[in-house]
Amino acid sequence: MTASLPLVPWPASVEPREGTLPFAALYLVSQAPDVWTALAAELFEPLGVVVSGGETVAAVRAGWPRPDAGGARPDDVRRRRP
């Protein structure tokens, strides 16, 4: 267990890795963006994080991949999962 990650409640499994991701703004890809983008905004906007979102196709239409996303497209992210 590491207390360096401020997670409450503590999860079943945590594997810290080297590095950090800039997180001033997020684009949430979901199957129901009217629901999930609103929930994400409720969670993240009080922290000053800008939230937008859409379905996978809409994400591509919105300009993904972007340079600051490391060249990844939404579909790439899905394919990289084991």
């Binding site: 267990m1 590491t2 207390a3 990650l5 401020p6 997670l7 409450v8 409640p9 503590w10 999860p11 079943a12 499994s13 945590v14 594997e15 810290p16 890795r17 080297e18 590095g19 950090t20 991701l21 800039p22 997180f23 001033a24 703004a25 997020l26 684009y27 949430l28 890809v29 979901s30 199957q31 629901v35 999930w36 929930l39 994400a40 409720e42 969670l43 993240f44 009080p46 922290l47 000053g48 994080v49 800008v50 937008s52 979102g53 994400a59 993904w64 972007r66 600051d68 996303a69 490391g70 060249g71 990844a72 939404p74 790439d76 992210v77 899905r78 990289r80 999962r81």
Partner: protein
Amino acid sequence: MVLVQTTFDGAARDQESFTLEVHEHGVTLTAARPAGLLHALRTLRQLVTAEHTVPFVVVRDTPRYAWRGLSLDVVRHWHGPETIRRVIDLLGMYKLRVLHLHLTDDQGWRLQIPSHPELTERSGGTQVGGRVPAGERGYLTVEEFRELQEYAAARFIDVVPEIDLPGHTNAATYACPELVPGGEATAPYHGTEVGFSRLWADNPATVPWIRDVLADVAATTSGRFVHVGGDEAPALDTAEYTRLVETACDAVRAHGKTPVAWQEAAVTAVEPGTLLQFWDPRADPEPLLRAAAAGARFVMSPASHAYLDMKYDAAHPLGLEWIGYVEVRDSYDWDPGDAIPGLPASAVEGVSAALWTETLATPEHLFAMLLPRLPALAEVAWTSRRSREWESFRTRLAGQARLWDAEGWAWHPSPQVQWPDR
């Protein structure tokens, strides 16, 4: 801008489990069901630093108990829909799934009952000390209760209404004189004593009234559970108590719901699946063990750990102290599996904090008692016993204060935690 990708994985273990991966290309959230996906988003939120970065990490998670909740008294002092929504937001932040609303007691009646509108017409506006604040109605209409449940359901939180009987009933006997032998209504009650009020089993009006009220409550409840109280009824003998609690549980089941009752109901003929809420560690455990053998399941709210209306210490201006003081570590350092000696671990349904409001009149009062102790109980309910450790928890808890401040929530700076400078 960071890409956060959500996916559903049917192979995941249950509806609340999830995986969160933060990597160089963005964030991937995977869950079997929407509830797990929202837990993943909430976990991600806790990882956001003040500098707007998130560490690379892989989190795989699933809860220990399904019932992780808060029992909230909105009777002793009225707390309306807007405050309840903020409490639901807080429950969500710590992955709690149940909001149990204590809606009736000696001091007031907080839910409109279509078959007995006099309950809220006469007892909706009373509370400890007199009347609810000017401009407040003092109760939830049926429509407001539906809207609250919808707000909670959108965050995967169930609302469990409680109609407390056969004790804690002065608001009912004030509003409905037919419930009193002789037909003379009791006087309204604005104090904080318990144990004096009652229903009468032999009164012909009592059982039909119980059935009417619980039918209306069941009809307006979207979740599985209706709480029928059953606590602190010393004015009734065991036979009368048993008859009325069993009537209430039968009425709840007749409308397709599962009854929940306080631990005193263990002396009744408990049916399998009934939930009993354990609150008083001073009580004889034998009836509880017999109820467990009959198939009852237990929600653990031991007052010495989970009653968040207890003062943090002698100097704290809010709260009560009948079970002693409850500091953050008291809320953290216990295990639900040990709460009732001899109870099989398989009989534990989960954990509920409880917040009674005899001394808590404002939203700031509520949040200052909930924070920082509610996150401690949330971890007790979610995290396995072997993965919990106080020193780690208190360090992680300190990191939560920034989130509470961002929401504008009041919180108590317990000296047991080294808080960051504000």
